[in-house]
Every structure is written in structure tokens, then in C-alpha cells.
Amino acid sequence: MGGILIYGEHREGKLKRVSYELLSKGREIARELGEKVKAVILGNRIEEAAREASSYVDEVFVFEDPILENYNSEVYLQILERLIRREGPSLIMAGATLQARELFPLLGGVLECSVIVECIDIKREDGRLSYVKPFYGGKILGEVIPKKPPHIVLVRPRVFPVKEKPSEQGLIKKMEVQVDMSKVGLSTLNVFKVKEKVTDITEADVVVCGGRGLKAPENFKLLMELAEVLGGAVGATRAVVDAGWRPQSEQVGKSGKTVSPNLYLAIGLSGAIHHVMGMDSSKVVVAINKDPTAPIFEYADYGLVADLFEVVPILIEELKKERG
């Protein structure tokens, strides 16, 4: 009993970046506490993900079956519940992704245990772990202490660094997939992918976010070009998502996603408080806006009072030159 269990979330068999972040962090905490660290991966055709994860942990539980190809909360829940009841980890870590933010609160409900969502720091005092998370959309931070194990902790992507892959090799355990389908009350009918190969904005190193200052939906191709040069993803404010210019999945802010890239470019957006709540944990923020009184400048490291239609094309050109 005890130990740390990491949920190895992947997309089509490739581990997500946040999974590497947690494998790195989980390994570090386990070594400090002198406990075992294990991982669990569910899906179909996941050998590569299992092999990758196994370098960081002592053991990987691999549940591989065509019925696990598409995520189904009730199917995944049955498997995880059984594994966790048997293994009895004291800490379960997953990324605060859309999938995990559904699956693990359900698991917490079933196991009747604590769930800490959007954790941004893990502290250790006298061998006891506590977790920092935002409240009131990030205006307030709080330290949360679970009363007893297991603790389920959903960590915000990009909070912990990915450590170099250790050379050792943990055990890969192929597990039997047992699901009682009579207890599964929901099924996936269809999946609509917005775009193939899109970088999720919560995982991107660079986010280029645009607002109403872009003036028209077609002008977002300017930001897409900039994002491409920078190897990043495009985000959008609530105003332009509401106007139907960009999909909901790109919205940054309180009612959208929280992002913490290395570099956040806020272009033609005013910086309403509900937007700032979704980007203030970025490492470096650049704001480009014509209006010097725009609130976004209060949350920026570098400010350019300029017409984006003049500056952004030059920025794209200069960056292209830089990168040869």
C-alpha cells in the first residue's frame, strides 16, 4: 500500500506533455519520500506510451483493449477504481486536462476521497504533502491539506518541468481489461475534431491570443501565421468566441481555458479581468494594443502601443529571418 500513481494521459498513443511533467515530478516526490512510483495507461495501441512512462517509474499498469480506444468515463472509471482499491496509492496525480477533470472527480466521488483541482504547487513539510490551488478564478491562492489518503491531485499543465528521461526501465505490466458493460450508462456516438494535429493551447510553449482588435475573423490568419513561426497555438478572447470568429476550444479565460505558456502574446485585446484569470500564470507576457490605457498592459512584461496590423506582419517577417 502507499506510493504514487500517475495517470499517463495520451493522445492516440503518444503521452501528453503534462504526463511527462507528472512522471518527472512524481518520481522526484517518490524518491524524497522513499516510496514507489507507478503509472497507469488506458487505451488501444499504447505500447510506445507505456515504454516511455516506464523509464520514469517502477511499474506501469497497461490496460490495452479496443474498447478503451475512445475515452468513456464509466468504462475508464471501473478500471481505475478496481486498480486503485487493490494498489492503494496514497497519492494519485493527473494533469488538469478536460478528460482528467471529468474522470478524477468521478473517481473521488466513488472512492470518497479528496480531489484537488488545478494544483499549481506541491509542498512537503514533515513528510506531509499539501497543495496550492487557485480560488476565485485565481485572485486568491490557497493551501489545501487533505485529511487522509488517497489524495487525488490534478496538476495544471506546464507547472512542473519535464526532466530528462532516466536510463532505467520500470516494469511494464499488461493488465486484464474487465468491464461490466451493463453498468455503463453512456456511449460515444461521434467525435468531432476541430482540426487535425492541433496543439492544445494548455500545452503550447507559445500562445498568440487575439481579441476584438483583430476587427474581423479572417484577420486571425495573421495570428495563425505568427503562432506557426513561433511554434505555438492561437487563443481567443471571450468576445471573439461569442461572436463566432473562433471555436470555444480556443477561449482563454474564466469561462474558457487557463494557459501558462513560456510566452503569451496578447494582441488586440483589452485584458478584461475574466481574460486575465486565464493567462496570468504565463511566464512572459507581451501586449500589443493601440490603446495605452488598455488593462492588459498591467499584466504584461513588455508593452507595445501600436497598430497590430502594422506591427504583427513585421514581427512575422523578422522572426522568419531569425529562424532562417
Binding site: 472527480p105 485529511k147 504584461a300 512584461d301
Partner: protein
């Protein structure tokens, strides 16, 4: 269709919030129904308008939460229930879900709607916890609902990382609402007047056999301290012609910020 909607009164996102000392917060008197819960009330009303039935809103809070219940009634909800917690200063999501489940198990329902998350705790736990306590399927981040009453099931679209997915779920079920689901209506004057006169059922937490001591027992987490997120950045203005600005920016991002 019998629909239950769980709502919460929370500070407006514009409200000033300060940490006084330790864990005490000073919150500006600007409260509202939680953004996502408002979507849940609206969706319940739309389903009722389409297939008939009844909409009941519930909240676990103090007497000050009556105003959000009245808002829901003014929008068109049929009944409202306040579960009063006067003697319970702080409760976690687990306890909230437990209390709601105790009340809900005595009410007939086909569908429960909750907001994706509450602004204050920013967690999104009560809906999934409640669904599992009641033993019903849960779908979070719902952006579209299609009712198939004759088949006792729903077709539901939810947001996923790659886009959207369409699911089929048996009733009874619990859904949590995501932005994009609908545009909530603004209550009419008639609606507001009706809501002022409507009687709201009040249940004391103690009458459910819930004592403040047992709540403490049941809590899964404790908040040890709270602090204000400090403003982290000092802006550096970049001036000049567009080309000069771009060149300086790239230089600073490379050498000072080291992100390029």
C-alpha cells in the same frame, strides 16, 4: 421531465476580494448566481418548454442565497429549495454533494444539471461527486443537449481537448454545463414579481441529520491558508517605429526574457 438544477451564489468576477488575516476573506458586496449555474437553469427551462415537466432549483447555503433562487424562479423555474447551513462556516465540495444527495434522493428526477464549476472554489467537483453518490452517469462540459423523452435518453455534446464529442446517455443522468450551451434569458418584470411572492422551501441541514460536528468529520480537505495573488509584472514599454519596436522586442525576448 423532472429536472433538478443545483445553483450557487458566488461573488461577481469583478468583486474586490482581500485576505484579511489567516483564512478570513473580505469580499465586496457584489454577488450573483454562478455563471455556469445560470446556463444550467436556462437549459432546464428550455428542455421543459420542449417536452414539459418541472424545474426545481436547489442550493446549499445561507439565507443570503435566497436571491439566486429568486432569480431562477423569475427566469421560470417552478420550485426552489434552500438547504440552510447557518451553523456551518466552511464546507468542502464533498460535504456539499453529500448534503445535496440527501435531499435529492427523496425527490423524483430524470435529469440533474450543475454548472461546470463554481467561481469561488474553481474546482468542478460537486456535480461529479453528486452523480456518483446517486449512482447515475455524469457528463461534464456539456455544450448541447438533445432530449429523446420517448427513449429515456439524451444526446449530449461535450467539449473535449480535440473539439467536441457526441454522447448518448441513459436517464436519469447528471450533466455539468459549459459556456456555449445557451444564452440565459433575462427575467421579465412579471417573472420577478412572481418570484418575489413565490414560497421557497427551506430545509435545515440539522433536519437531515447533519450536525456541524459530523460535517467536520466528513470533510475531505482543510484549507490551511489563503493569500492574495500578487501582481507579478512590471511593464517595460517598447517604443519607436514599428520596425524598431519589433527588433527591440525580439532582442529582449531572446536576451532578457530568454523565451525565444
Amino acid at each position: 421531465m423532472e429536472i433538478l438544477v443545483c445553483v450557487k451564489r458566488v461573488p461577481d468576477s469583478e468583486a474586490q476580494i482581500e485576505v484579511k488575516e489567516g483564512k478570513a476573506l473580505k469580499i465586496e458586496e457584489k454577488y450573483t448566481m454562478n455563471f455556469f449555474d445560470n446556463l444550467a437553469v436556462e437549459e432546464a427551462l428550455r428542455i421543459k418548454e420542449k417536452v414539459g415537466g418541472k424545474v426545481t432549483v436547489l442550493t446549499f447555503g445561507s439565507a443570503s442565497s435566497l436571491d439566486v433562487l429568486r432569480t431562477a424562479l423569475a427566469m421560470g423555474a417552478d420550485e426552489a429549495i434552500l438547504i440552510e447551513d447557518e451553523n456551518i462556516p466552511y464546507k468542502d465540495e464533498f460535504v456539499t454533494a453529500k448534503v445535496l444527495s440527501k435531499v435529492i434522493k427523496d425527490i423524483p428526477y430524470d435529469l440533474i444539471l450543475c454548472g461546470r464549476e463554481a467561481f469561488d472554489t474553481s474546482s468542478g467537483l460537486v456535480g461529479p461527486f453528486l452523480g456518483k453518490m446517486l449512482g447515475i452517469p455524469v457528463i461534464t462540459m456539456v455544450t448541447k443537449v438533445e432530449v429523446k423523452p420517448e427513449e429515456r435518453q439524451l444526446e449530449v455534446e461535450r467539449e473535449i481537448e480535440e473539439g467536441r464529442e457526441l454522447l448518448k446517455v441513459k436517464l436519469p443522468a447528471l450533466l455539468t454545463t459549459q459556456k456555449g450551451l445557451n444564452e440565459p434569458r433575462v427575467p421579465t418584470v412579471m417573472g420577478l414579481m412572481k418570484a418575489m411572492k413565490a414560497s421557497i422551501k427551506r430545509i435545515k441541514a440539522e433536519d437531515l441529520g447533519i450536525k456541524p460536528d459530523s460535517i467536520l468529520e466528513e470533510m475531505k480537505v482543510e484549507i490551511s491558508k489563503l493569500w492574495e495573488e500578487k501582481k507579478k509584472r512590471q511593464i517595460r514599454w517598447i517604443k519607436g517605429t514599428p520596425l524598431e519596436m519589433v527588433k527591440e522586442l525580439i532582442e529582449l525576448l531572446k536576451t532578457e526574457a530568454r523565451v525565444l
